[in-house]
């Protein structure tokens, strides 16, 4: 019985001219998004690799010079992307892609691609993820809104029920039939993704298979939740017009209004500091000392250096820095670098926590919009979310302090106040190993996502229960 209902539903759907159009358009958009996503990923990937490579060459082949000046020349760290970025590019367009790592200064990752793309890109990119998150639910609604309400209006529901079909069979049949129609879209998507990931991409990512499967799982749960919800609403609505209006309102709420409102509310509750506030505070702290810190960090900058100076004089048992066997200027610069590193680590950490709290707050809106939960999960698994960006930022800052230590260390060891000249070349610069980004493991990617997984599953379960209850209480008139 279930199969017969399913077949009827499926045939009705695919014979309907409107859905032929809808499915056709969806398919075209998906193909477009895949092709462009692939191109974008490939060009970005190759530019990134080439730039990072070139950066290392420039670092090594710079003129022979004082190591500290070399640190001023510095290095750039370029944000790499995992291969799944072609499917979901996440926050990539809105997060800095390059960090300049130089002596004395702690910089942010700059150059958001969105700056160069013009205002129209703010409507959102056409990516496979966006199509599946926003357009697919609408298609499901349009396919399923009249499943029960329409039959009731045309009077066929009474006939079907009079045959003694159980409501469970009716629901499952309709579910299967509509799913089969949806599968006409989903199956090619999965096939293309697998193909691209398997053969096409210059990929060096670990766990690609697992990540792909997880994505598939999450999107299927999301699709199922929308399907069940649509059928449930269709069953309880008096008219199919009512069902359609309810469902479309929910869809507009879930995919457009709530995500934006959530972002603004998260900023309202946890405000982001501005650039000038951030640096104002960090510089003041560097000058005056970090409150509540232990040791020299709590002291003003001048006293900090003075104490270090005295300790150094005592250690080497000399009267003046002029007599030290090491280079005091470089040593004092390194004291400052270490001091600032600790202070900026604290402030950057605070900022990171603000971002993550804002994200968690937005995720909570997943309770009213499954799209928000899916979006977060999709970005996390695709490696294009906040976790990945922050990991890039942190590893770049760690690289920076390593570079500075190495270069200032050269000066401290090899020169003195009386003979400060020291010129190094490749042999010295090569002590700084090229910047390498290590992407998070799958479990690290999913670490902050437990709530989203739970919410998404809850949506599917609640929708299923709702649909069954609604169909059980189905009235034929």
């Amino acid at each position: 019985m279930i199969m017969e209902i399913a077949r009827k539903e499926f045939v009705c759907l695919i014979r309907d001219g409107r859905f032929k159009w809808a499915i056709g358009i969806m398919f075209l958009l998906l193909v477009t998004s895949f092709v462009t996503g692939y191109q974008r990923y490939e060009s970005l990937h190759s530019i990134r690799e080439a730039s990072q490579q070139k950066n290392s060459e420039q670092w090594l082949n710079q003129d022979r010079k004082n190591p500290h000046t070399a640190a001023h020349f510095g290095n750039y760290a370029y944000k790499p992307q995992g291969p799944l970025a072609f499917f979901d590019n996440g926050i990539t367009n809105y997060a800095g892609s390059v960090i300049w790592l130089e002596a004395h200064k702690t910089n942010f990752a700059q150059n958001r691609p969105a700056q160069d793309n013009g205002a129209v890109s703010r409507f959102g990119d056409l990516t496979p993820a966006m199509i599946l998150q926003i357009l697919l639910p609408l298609l499901i609604i349009l396919m399923g809104f009249s499943a029960f309400a329409g039959e009731r209006e045309s009077g066929t529901l009474r006939q079907v029920m009079s045959l003694g079909v159980s409501s469970r069979a009716l629901l499952l049949g309709k579910l299967l039939g509509t799913s089969a129609a949806i599968a006409l879209i989903i199956v090619p998507v999965v096939a293309i993704t697998t193909l691209v990931l398997g053969f096409g991409l210059p990929a060096d990512s670990s766990h690609l298979g697992e990540r792909g499967l997880l994505l598939l799982g999450f999107y299927l749960i999301y699709t199922l939740a929308f399907l069940l919800l649509t059928l449930g609403v269709s069953a309880i609505s008096r008219t199919s017009k009512g069902a359609l209006i309810t469902l479309i309102s929910f869809w507009a709420m879930a995919t457009f209004i709530l995500p934006k409102a959530a972002a603004d509310i998260s900023k309202m509750v946890v405000p982001t500091p501005t650039y000038s506030e951030f640096y104002h505070l960090a510089r003041q702290t560097s000058l005056k000392g970090l409150e509540g810190a232990k040791g020299l960090l709590a002291l003003p900058q001048g006293r900090h250096i003075e104490i270090e100076r005295r300790n150094l004089l005592k250690k080497y048992n000399v009267k003046s820095v002029q007599d030290l066997p090491i280079y005091w200027v470089a040593y004092s610069m390194q004291i400052m670098e270490e001091r600032d590193y600790s202070i900026y680590q604290k402030f950057l950490g605070d900022l990171r926590r603000i971002f993550f709290r804002q994200e968690a707050m937005q995720d909570r809106f997943g309770l009213v919009s499954p799209m928000i939960s899916l979006r977060s999960l999709s970005m996390a698994v695709a490696g294009t979310g906040l976790v990945d960006q922050e990991r890039f930022n942190q590893t770049a800052q760690d690289f920076r302090i390593g570079m500075i230590r190495a270069m200032n260390g050269e000066l401290i060891e090899n020169t003195t106040m009386k003979d400060p000249l020291y010129i190094g070349g490749k042999e010295v610069f090569s002590k700084v190993k090229p910047y390498q980004y290590s992407e998070p493991t799958l479990s690290e990617s999913l670490e902050g996502q437990r709530m989203n997984i739970a919410i998404l599953l809850a949506w599917a379960i609640v929708s299923a229960v709702f649909a069954f209850v609604a169909v059980n209480r189905l009235r034929v008139q």
Binding site: T36, T69, F73, Q115, G124, K241, I248, A263, K267
Partner: protein, 496 residues
């Protein structure tokens, strides 16, 4: 007769809880929108205020040292001297850095060049959230300062702000669709259309009256809430007395009305197809999706595919190559070393090193200029593509205009940056000769440092949006004429 239908429709609409709920939702969305927009502008202005205070304090420190030195020399009757560049604090009696124009204009004092928000900034955040509205100008190469990064959670940037422009571009059409989708089909399905048509009135007048009642209701909400929004953001940001703000506001109301008329016309057009209410909703929802989601994404794709912006990553590589080349030309590595750390240099040669440094900045600027110009050109070409393709979707047209009216468009930002670059030149011309002549700077000169003023060219603002405006007017008139002419062939009876 028209009056009767009009007032009847208004009463009917106001009695429907669904309509009332929708209108309330629109009002709430606008309140939420203006609040978010105002916060965004405040945040930006606050950021600039902190920067201005920091830079003023830095300038004051330099000035204080200089004034003390001037008093000291005056009391002893000794001539003032030009200080060599030195990063260590001055010893008593020695000339401070404030006497050296190179040190002052090159690293100690910076001008905060602010792009002031317009009176209507809070209505459309536009591209404002991506970049700071101020630039720190000194004598370093100008590309150092063109990044203007502002901190924000990338997740929030991706989602965008829930501002008035979002309400107008995205939500307003939904409300209009809800108000118009069953204007005829609903009457027909309940059997009242044929009845109404027994009255001495044409279908088109009947439809016109129905449409007018809906337009009146919606515009009433828009005007009342828009005015409240203006009063709120205006009083918070202190721009209520600015006539420019009010003319921008009038422009905002007018283009919003035009945009609404597009969607009303579309509602009539779909009604004229004589399908069921459900089909109408499906078609209208599809068109909405096409206009505000799919088309913009495709247009953006077309623009970035036709004229891809050269990657900023490549720009960085080019900058470094230029830097290496400039360094090679200087030849002497010891010299290059001291350009970054003048305090380590033997005293006599100090000035030369700052000179070398400044010379290098100039060389860098010249080398990077072509790469930067390429960026600009691609960006302009992209905008050219968008300029043509925008007419595929009134939503893009609307975004263009709202960003322009609120003053948060890319074009205005670029015009501002051009102003900053021009000012950068003035700044350098002020300090460089004084530095090279080793002129001892006087404390009275500090009040006369160049100041940056952003001057808005109003005809340019109009010029940037005139094409969008005319295009939208044509689209709106065309769709309404077409829709109403189709109504002539509308079958009133059931089954027709």
């Amino acid at each position: 007769m028209l009056n009767t239908i009009f007032s009847h429709e208004i009463r009917q609409l106001l009695k429907s809880p669904a309509t009332l709920f929708m209108l309330c939702l629109l009002a709430v969305a606008m309140i939420f929108g203006i609040y978010n927009g105002t916060r965004a502008v405040e945040r930006q202005s606050e950021s600039a205020r902190v920067a201005i205070a920091d830079e003023a304090a830095a300038k004051q420190r330099v000035l204080d040292q200089l004034v003390a030195y001037e008093k000291f020399t005056a009391s002893r009757g000794i001539p003032r001297q030009f200080a060599p560049v030195n990063h260590a604090p001055p010893r008593p009696g020695e000339p401070p850095q404030g006497t050296n124009a190179g040190a002052v204009g090159g690293e100690l004092v910076r001008e905060v060049a602010v792009l002031p928000p317009t009176g209507l900034s809070a209505f459309a955040v536009g591209q404002m959230d991506l970049q700071r509205n101020y630039t720190l100008v000194d004598m370093k190469n100008k590309f150092n300062m063109s990044d203007n990064f502002e901190i924000e959670n990338p997740l929030s940037l991706m989602v965008g702000t829930f501002d008035i422009s979002f309400v107008v571009i995205f939500l307003l059409p939904i409300f209009i669709i809800a108000l118009t989708y069953d204007m005829l089909s609903g009457e027909k399905e309940s059997g009242t259309l044929a009845l109404a048509m027994t009255q001495p009135i044409s279908l088109r007048s009947f439809m016109g009256a129905k449409l007018l009642s809906r337009i009146a209701l919606l515009m009433l909400v828009i005007v009342v809430m828009g005015l409240s929004a203006m009063l709120f953001s205006g009083s918070v940001l202190g721009v209520l007395s600015d006539p420019g703000a009010w003319s921008r506001f009038a422009l905002f109301l007018f283009v919003t009305f035009l945009y609404a008329m597009f969607w009303f016309g579309l509602g009539v057009l779909v009604s004229s197809l004589n399908r069921s209410s459900e089909t109408n909703v499906t078609i209208l929802a599809g068109i909405w999706l096409l206009m505000v989601v799919v088309m913009p994404a495709l247009v953006s794709l077309a623009a970035t595919t036709l004229y891809p912006a050269p990657s900023r990553m490549e720009l960085k590589v080019a900058m470094r190559d230029a830097s290496i080349a400039a360094e090679k030309q200087e030849g002497d590595t010891t010299k290059a070393y001291y350009t970054d750390h003048v305090e380590m240099a033997p005293d006599k040669e100090n000035e030369t090193y700052l000179t070398v440094f400044l010379a290098r900045q100039d060389a860098l600027e010249k080398a990077i200029q072509p790469v930067f110009d390429r960026f600009r050109r691609q960006q302009e070409r992209q905008e050219g593509v968008v300029g043509w393709f925008q007419f595929l979707s009134p939503a893009i047209v609307m975004q263009n205009m709202l960003n322009e009216i609120s003053g948060n468009s890319t074009d205005r930002y670029n015009a501002y940056m051009d102003g900053v670059f021009a000012f950068h030149k003035i700044w350098k011309e002020f300090f460089t000769p004084r530095y090279l002549k080793k002129e001892v700077m006087d404390s009275s000169l500090y009040d006369h440092f160049p100041k940056f003023h952003y001057s808005e060219t109003h005809y340019l603002v109009i010029g940037r949006m005139i094409a969008s405006f005319i295009g939208l007017v044509i689209i709106v008139i065309a769709i309404n004429i077409f829709a109403f002419s189709r109504l002539r062939r509308f079958g009133v009876r059931e089954g027709s």
